[in-house]
Assembly symmetry: C2
Homo-oligomer: 474 residues x 2
């Protein structure tokens, strides 16, 4: 097993990412262009993400269900903006059971239409509302330029779809789920985010307002890491989703949809990773701890493995891997697990056995410490909490350092080459388009948390009443 | 909400099933022919099934991963029997991103081929073996005659795919996973099963040997409820999955695959359901308990709801629903939750409050009992265990009563009209086909647990060395 080193992040961030995903065995390229295999280590990370989100969805009253993969083409056409937005990206089934189909079937790119159709069937009265359903599945969007986890033809995600009696309730739901995403990102993934409202040109095809959480990657580019859409009555009208209110009057429901995908795995890699490889947050890491026994002869081996087994049992509450491979050296194992981002390494050598201690090495900081074998679980728990907190602090620091408030458009053009610009903006689509064309920076959105006051647009100088974040983005 | 009664099982078992699935809100018909929506109540049941299976898979060393939905058509053609078996059932994508594709893509009907392709890439040495991967996903097989959960164009399942250094290891894996399924079926779902080896004509397309667990439904028809296939070197040769053994010689791996699907939800419905509706096993039921508060005036209401809240807290370890709807009567609620199969109902009325008790009504037996509010959790736990055990006992009894050992073919033809026949069989495909043609009973398989000895074939009279089960099947 010859070990090839990763390119450094500063040298080639993109190649560092591509190679790391493969070497850490998170994912692999699949035979059909643009599709990926999520390998067991990557899937375990995604499963931990899904568990952390799912418990939050359930705590806010949502239930899971499953809707079909195939949507009649005519359904998409019922919402004009929706079909326009998604048409270029569709995969279409034209043959079923050996015969040409009368109506082609779309492989779902998102499920608003088919879910709208079912909701129209299920919802009759105000008593049936709200409907709060989430789905875990995969969707297909034909992509020309793909990158593992970040942009793939098929990707895994959850899509929440809710229906409400009033616009106010639907708006509150949209906001609530955005906050759920932000809470998850910061407290589980240690990924700091900004909650924003998307501009008209960046919003969801068919929606009224879109919101997202935006995160800063290690190269300072932005990544939209989760979205929540207020759809108003658009889909209710397209699919006739109506209910009888308390006064026996027929009303349209208001709907929302919100999603977070395997893109988020990419965010975790790019926010925390370093030149040695992944750095995974303890709360989501497939293995929180790796134990590496170290011995040079049979006598040491017996004593070390006995102690390893005792420590393994003391640490039974953690997600843990004992690396007792005989064919590779401890040094190889250290590098291997560092590359895979395991938050904490526990080394047990003859000296550790002798001293009744273990050696700890944190993935997020250099150096080793020793701790008595007795009571190791408490120390490990506290250390993992420290690592989790430290990762968030470091990422916040990085985001703060690389978010700028340029004085003029010249400075703006400079800072968005390697950072975010948080600026006054005139809210005109035309100005937004020109900024993109001139600087490659896109409008990431209008932060919900506005400083207040007024200013002038960073580009055109027109009066501006809101600040927006511009950055190059994935 | 007018309540329409279900047809009785004896009157029309098939319609009883179809209506029950809809009324209990387990699933619904989706717009594309043959596809289904699994509604939240049905999905919660499936999630409990997946959790019970997943923990067993992990306990036997398996990990989860995800492989793409789209498989190049040419992959299927690499294994001759495989493509023959699946060709008539394929859904094919011919358009992607607005353009005709050069090579059509198959929407996976099962993933042996694409996983074989990836294993060939990943496996190099004996050190990489065994590979023990499971996938939770959905697959598509074009079906002409569909029935919710039992046969749908798209269905949800898990598919395990393992690769081993030797045939013996692969055979042991095949057998182990069959036993995992049997253990799950009996101990979680209270569904008794027979473990069988499939005849040549009933085996998996491309496999060497197929095994299944067979369950008897409430109308005595058989249902194949889970399958485990030993694939030998067939897929290893088709996809060049080879490894260097300890002697540095290149060898083919031996592979297995095994799956259990949302069909199993159908089995639970048809094994346990009665004329009032579903009867769900406590270990898998979305709600193990429903609490129904009963009150006639405001004073009663306050006291009853206070006690309801106290009981709810005492029962916090269980999956529980409090039905405090005001717009329907307690009688309506009783029928409603009976139809949905909740194992145990806890009624709390003014008299219960007065006496410091609760009233219990089991779904699996008639009648009510009372138990002190103090210590209710222990009684409930014991009662749920009794219900679980009683359901398995009753189902076993039913299976025993309806499994026959006919003396001759005339009697065979009679008993398979409403039961299983466990008979000596000559093992000839021709005889098997004629039995099917003459009686509609198919060979469900050769039980692994054979009585030994010899006999003569129930149909042709030729010498027979194995017994097989024949029955009409879903």
């Amino acid at each position: 097993m010859p070990e090839e080193r990763l390119p450094s992040r500063s040298e080639n961030f993109s190649e560092w990412y591509n190679q790391l995903v493969l070497k850490a065995e998170l994912a692999d390229y699949a035979p059909v262009r643009g599709t990926m295999v999520v390998r067991p280590y990557g899937w375990a990370l995604w499963e931990n993400i899904t568990a952390a989100l799912d418990s939050r969805f359930k705590a806010t009253g949502h239930v899971n269900a499953a809707f079909p993969l195939f949507i009649p083409m005519s359904f998409l056409q019922k919402e004009k903006d929706h079909v326009e937005g998604f048409s270029p990206q569709l995969a279409v089934v034209t043959i079923g059971g050996g015969e040409e189909l009368e109506e082609p079937l779309v492989v779902r790119p998102t499920s608003e239409t088919i879910i709208g159709h079912m909701y129209a069937k299920w919802i009759e009265s105000y008593r049936d509302l709200p409907v709060l359903i989430n789905v875990w599945n995969s969707v297909v969007r034909w992509e020309l330029r793909t990158k593992l986890f970040l942009r793939t033809t098929e990707f895994y995600w959850q899509e929440g779809h809710t229906a409400h009696a009033t616009a106010e309730e639907a708006k509150a739901e949209t906001r609530q789920m955005l906050e759920v995403y932000a809470d998850f990102a910061e407290n589980e993934a240690a990924v700091p985010v900004v909650m924003v409202r998307k501009s008209e040109s960046e919003k969801f095809a068919g929606g009224v307002n879109s919101y997202s959480i935006e995160a800063m990657m290690g190269d300072t580019r932005a990544l939209q890491a989760g979205t929540s859409h207020y759809l108003g009555e658009n889909f209710a009208k397209a699919f006739s989703i109506r209910y009888l209110d308390r006064d026996n009057t027929l009303q349209y429901v208001s709907t929302t949809s919100w999603g977070l995908s395997t893109r988020f795995v990419g965010a975790i890699i790019m926010v925390h990773g370093d030149d040695q490889g992944l750095v995974l947050p303890p709360r989501l890491a497939p293995f929180q701890i790796v134990i590496v026994p170290i011995h040079k002869n049979e006598e040491q081996r017996r004593a070390v493995l006995e102690q390893t087994e005792a420590i393994r049992q003391s640490l039974g509450d953690f997600r843990l891997k004992v690396d007792d491979r005989e064919e590779v050296t401890p040094g190889f194992k250290f590098n291997d697990w560092e590359m895979r981002g395991v938050p904490l390494r526990v080394e047990i050598g003859p000296k550790d056995v002798e001293q009744g201690q273990v050696t700890l090495a944190r993935r997020d900081e250099k150096g080793r410490t020793h701790t008595p074998a007795e009571g190791v679980a408490e120390v490990v728990r506290a250390t993992l909490d420290e690592i989790q907190a430290n990762m968030l602090t470091k990422a916040r620091e990085f985001m703060r350092e690389n978010t700028h408030d340029p004085a003029d458009y010249a400075e703006f053009q400079e800072v968005v080459k390697a950072g975010w610009a948080d600026v006054w903006w005139c809210a005109e689509a035309d100005c937004e388009a020109k900024i993109k064309q001139e600087t490659k920076a896109t409008n990431r959105g209008i932060p919900l948390d506005q400083t207040g006051g007024e200013g002038v647009c960073i580009r055109c100088g027109d009066p501006a009443r809101e600040r927006a974040i511009f950055a190059r983005a994935y």
